[in-house]
Amino acid sequence: MLHPPDLAARLLSRRLSPEWRDYVLGDLEEEFRARATRSAPAARRWYWRQALRCLAKPPRSSASTPQTAARDPFMRTLIPDLRYAVRVLFRAPSFAAAVIVVLALGIGANTAIFSIVNAVLLRPLPFEEPARLVRLFHVPPQDTFPGMPTFSVSPANFYDWQRSARLFDGMAIYRFRPFVLSGGSGAQEVVSAAVGAGFFDVLQARPALGRTFRADEDAPGRNRVVIVSDGFWKRQFGAAPDVVGRSLRLDGNAYTVVGVMPPTFSVEAWGATAQDLWVPLAYTDKERAVRENHNAQVIARLRSDVTAEQARSEMEQISKRLEAEYPAANAGWGATVVPLQEVLVGDVRTSLVVLLAAVGLVLLIACANVGNLLFTRALTRRKEIAIRSALGAGRARVFQQLLVESMLLAVAGGVLGLFLARLTLESSAKLLAAQLPRAEEVSIDTRVLLFALTASIITGILAGMMPALRAGRADLNEALKEGGRNEAGLGVRTRRVLIVCEVALSLVLLMAAGVMVRSLLALRNVDAGFNPQNVLTLRVSPPETRYDTPAKYLAFFQTAVSRIRALPGVEAAGAIDDLPVLGGSQQPIVLEGRAELLPRDQPTVAVRKITPGYLRAMQIPIIRGRDVADGDKEVMLVSRSAARLLWGDGDPIGRRVTLPLESRTEFREVIGIVGDVKQGDLAEPAAPSVYEFTQSLPFGLSTVVIRTAVPPMSIATQAAETLRAMDPEQPVEDIRTMEAVLDETLRSQRFSALLLGLFAAVALTLASVGIYSVLSYIVRGRSREIGIRTALGARATDVVRLVIVEGMTPTLIGIGAGVVASLASGKLLQKVVYGVSAWDPLTLGGVAVGLTVVALIATLVPAYRASRVDPLIVLRGD
């Protein structure tokens, strides 16, 4: 005989009240059997359906009726409770205002930081199905590029990937190409994204006007077409609706505008969309075949059913095959797939998480402070609460009333906080723009509103819970007694716990801020290998269309540098392609007489092109040999670490090397060893570098560096004028001091240090106010005892000591707890600091001492007040 599904029956039997169990189970079994004679599976399905509906909402048991009746009053009493809470708070406006302001600061700061996190980390990119967009990179051989997880892509490899990969809907290659835009308001440099066929299809982006590129336009000769950004269209064309078909002069050639992208397409964080112009990449066949020069970027769209992980393993397989096929160029070069979102925000994720954690701690401290205020108030209202209890209000009822009050305060604080966040966000979004990806998108949306609401509710519960619980526990008899003398002495232990929490949390924040500031200082004082003081830099990029021979190109810079040297106040001047700390070319290098190895085994160095005068302008020391001079033809300087890497203990001077990516036949003689310079990240060790002075391949030189005897910015105009006078169509950009360049690289660290410092300051203020108010309260409560002590002969110093011990005991416990918490949270912090340990004992000690001193000061006022207690007045009060 068939039985109903066992599991369903058992679940039902548990869920049903005994009153109904037999009837319902019996009915179901009876009907099940009747149905099972027709079709057993159908009967089973029917049984499950019935069981599930029953489980969701079983017939009510009459025994449970009283319970449901008890639940009703919550909703019925909520409105009167709210009304009562509003009345009570209006009766104590200064108390309510203090609480609301403290909470508004806490919630506002949290909301502001969260809205940044929301824009940067949580909100999807404004493309179709952005989760499917990925960037493809090479993975360079780790022996020659230690610590570099990804690398740009070489064109030939890209086209092979595109042909072989099956897991992508499409992939496109792109790179950046500067143009000189002439006509109209004078010459200016404009960086464009030169994009291969299919770029806009991969993004599934549609133009606001006109069209995107056709596949056949990705070829030399047919590529004189340009798509402009919304911003460019408005600035340059006054948003003319008939812009399509007009032309732009780029590097002296006419390009026809074929489309305008909508404003949403300009994602500032991503270079490929942040530009004002897009042109076809239009590689020649020769350029397409380049396999060993890695200088292009790739965007791709995954097929809808494919994960990045699957795509990665496909790319690894293709790379292995290409390695075997082209060992000379590809040995050791792998490939990887990284989601676009991750590429854009990867760097800042940790610092944002640190900030969010820090601002969360500030809110907790605010909660503790408000909790303390609420507690004090709950105690002063003991009589009222006792009367309510005497009239029949249960503990739950009292609890609810007090919690409703604290929630009301928290929500009011939240609304004010949201307002504050909105105010600060407008200005801070501008401030952040250069420091965070997608900062321009920071705004208050539904998610931020939900966050603020949740934060308010949790704050209300956290701050209100302890006071409400403690007040509900109040002893009726005691409270109703006339006099209520001991009132102020109540809940001292609870308050001490609050001080411990506040101090501990503040210490964690202070420690984080301290370590961050020390890290910033360490970075600022890092020896980058040159002297950044009194150095002015200007960028010019003569278009290769007009300066088309090496001689013309080099002559421009040599003339420019010599004219600038003649300016008053100039001590030295030279030119380079990429300034230190900003990164640049990294290439394999081959010594004369040694075979060129596979790329995976070939050593690589940072390669910079310079003109004579550069080293002097930057004060990079020459350790041995000599500087490059105007008469030199093809010569090279190597940094100390490059010399050690390439020749070990041997003498490099007089040896000859080639850079295979530039030329395998052109050998350059090493004429000197110079000091190491940080070419990239200040936090990383200096990379082995070579500086070449070449007559045959000077293209790339772009930055003029000037050492001055006067404040560098004072000659900026003259220097720029000198360059413009040489070629009026030549834009001069990025005029800034070398110190400003360095500062720029430290912006995000400075931003984190600034915010953490600010949070720590708020925390310290809140904590000291907390200590002060708790102690004042305790002193008031013990004034009788103190009066008696004084009457019995205690001196003022004894009283002061008494109060200080009272205040400092929880403070010191809090510091102990904070030290432990700091040590435990160091792991997160360690990821964002440089040159200092997140567990740095000196900082920790300093912070602990500082906090102790502040706490001590906060105890002094109540202590002084206690010492002034007049025994006569206190005892007369009895």
Binding site: G26, D27, R33
Partner: protein, 113 residues
């Protein structure tokens, strides 16, 4: 109480359940009522809804109930039988009158003729 003079107004599902009890005479218990409603109205309701409504109608004084003997088809479990009280009959009668007088003359338009 409010149902002293006038029989109470019944909800749509309450009417179905009361009519089910009325139809089944002395054999009105949960599963039978459920099946009766299913067969006649096409509404495949759940057993918990039936019992919840039966319980409510009993609390309102429209029904009374008694337990039967355990039977083997039910795995040895008892049935709970229901029958109408006079007030239940009055309530369903009123619902019937209300319905028929409201639909009187509308058969053409409702397409029920």
């Amino acid at each position: 109480m409010w149902f002293k003079g006038q029989p109470p107004i019944l909800g749509d599902f309450e009417q179905l359940v009361l009519l089910g009890v009325l139809r089944l005479k002395n054999d009105a218990y949960g599963a039978a009522i459920r099946q009766e409603i299913h067969e006649r109205s096409g509404r495949d309701v759940s057993i918990n809804a039936v019992y919840t409504t039966l319980d409510r109608l009993e609390t309102k004084g429209l029904l009374h109930s008694w337990s039967g003997e355990p039977t083997p088809q039910r795995g040895g479990r008892r049935r709970k039988f229901y029958a109408l009280r006079p007030s239940g009959l009055a309530a369903i009668r009123q619902a019937y009158h209300a319905f028929t007088s409201m639909t009187d003359g509308l058969e053409g338009r409702l397409g029920t003729k």
